[in-house]
Assembly symmetry: C2
Amino acid sequence: MKVRCSGELALIDWMRKHCVCSSAVKTGIGDDTAVLPLNTREDLLLTTDLLVEGTHFTKSTLPHLVGRKALARNLSDIAAMGGTPTCAVVSLGLPTNTPTTYVRKVYQGLNRLAKAFSVSIVGGDTVKSRTFVINIALLGRVAKGRAILRSGARVGDHIFVSGCLGGSLKSDRHLTFTPRIAHAQYLLKNFCPTAMIDISDGLAGDLGHLLEESRVGAVIDEEKIPLHRGASLKAGLYDGEDFELLFTVRPNQADKLLKQNNKSFFRIGAIIKDQNKLYVRQKNDDIRLIPAQGFTHF
Amino acid sequence: MKVRCSGELALIDWMRKHCVCSSAVKTGIGDDTAVLPLNTREDLLLTTDLLVEGTHFTKSTLPHLVGRKALARNLSDIAAMGGTPTCAVVSLGLPTNTPTTYVRKVYQGLNRLAKAFSVSIVGGDTVKSRTFVINIALLGRVAKGRAILRSGARVGDHIFVSGCLGGSLKSDRHLTFTPRIAHAQYLLKNFCPTAMIDISDGLAGDLGHLLEESRVGAVIDEEKIPLHRGASLKAGLYDGEDFELLFTVRPNQADKLLKQNNKSFFRIGAIIKDQNKLYVRQKNDDIRLIPAQGFTHF
């Protein structure tokens, strides 16, 4: 059996069952970031993302956008917990004939975003590799016990997204998106989201992860999914790398949120009891069951 | 100019000057791990290491040894600060045709070592890559203000190593070495090392890093360098990946250390004023200047 056939999710499931984890860890494998005890007031967040040439960018992608994307993906994971990013370490695997100006431009893109989000670059590793790869591990923090997990959605909660979806890879938005740190902190402070995830595998896939962790189901309204210009409903449901927030709030919070922010947040559906089932309400009011899965990496 | 020509160190020097870093960071780029404030009693350590097939292991390396080495290198970095490892995140870049049993064996090797050192595996990332790569970022902790940096060596300090050197790559010891966490904690508790580093680039190279950070020089005795059976003096000086500790202590501590542990620690020389100069005292008592550089990654 190859990774391509069994799929990444089966592998992650296996890791989750078999990896060593102490009881001090609040949340480990299976959420956007790990949640660890930090001090009496705060929890520590830790996440990591690996970008590979040929998978996440191409030889012709501008180097500063490669560095930018590597950090932005990690920032999006910290956002999905409602956290504040703090420090990062950067690993580079470089072919020996890489021009040093290329590497400096990767760092310039990364540094610019780090500065914008007050992230310190505190170390790393630089090694020889046939394929150009960049891995960033990012620390963050969040008020004690307040990290928003994937597992908190309850029946009756309303489902929201933080922006338009679809066509991110085609339009190169996956290289230039703004991680939703500010949106997430605003939500955490004012509307107590019950569950949250960032959309990296596509709306259907990431909603699927949230449903699985929360042991619930969902109905979403196809007419309410906000789409980027030119993006089809299918692209909105299944395209990866949008990096918008997908979250749930209690019904009373939902109305308040819409009243105050009907331009930044979009209500697309509701949580139901039917475990792991994802339904779409069509224009004609028919309801169909769709696969709760998105972009596959293999 | 290519990375191969300008060298990794020039690049790291550039990063150090240009990377964003807040004043809250106690130690950033330029030591074995970053040192960050954790709580009132402890500091947080963060390190990362990238292993690439064709550079750090081959297609024929047993998968559990690949996983083991990836974590062991990081543990060695935490050891070099006198720290205790706590949590790790693991990124895998896998060719699509990788057998899932191969990946599980990588994790089994990694898990076994994690268990032995009470490290929790708390998350990660699994993506498609032409070249098989594994990156681990590891957190650790150390008593507040007690992390042993590369920069603390003072004129008159004695220089020690924690074991035999040379021939690690040839003998496959780089895949099976024991990270010196216990040795480092014993030293921290009893002998206040003034500076410490783990030997990954070779004795001459890593002593060079320590001299540079401490702004001092060193004389080492070629007869006192402990060598693995079959390893030449040249191998002992320049071979990479020994992962023994290289450290300095005040002269009065040195005698006490030798009295109590003449089998675990070897005194090989002393710190002198001559900044960045590394001398070797030969058998005939002649002293020669040698390049303070070791294994180059490019």
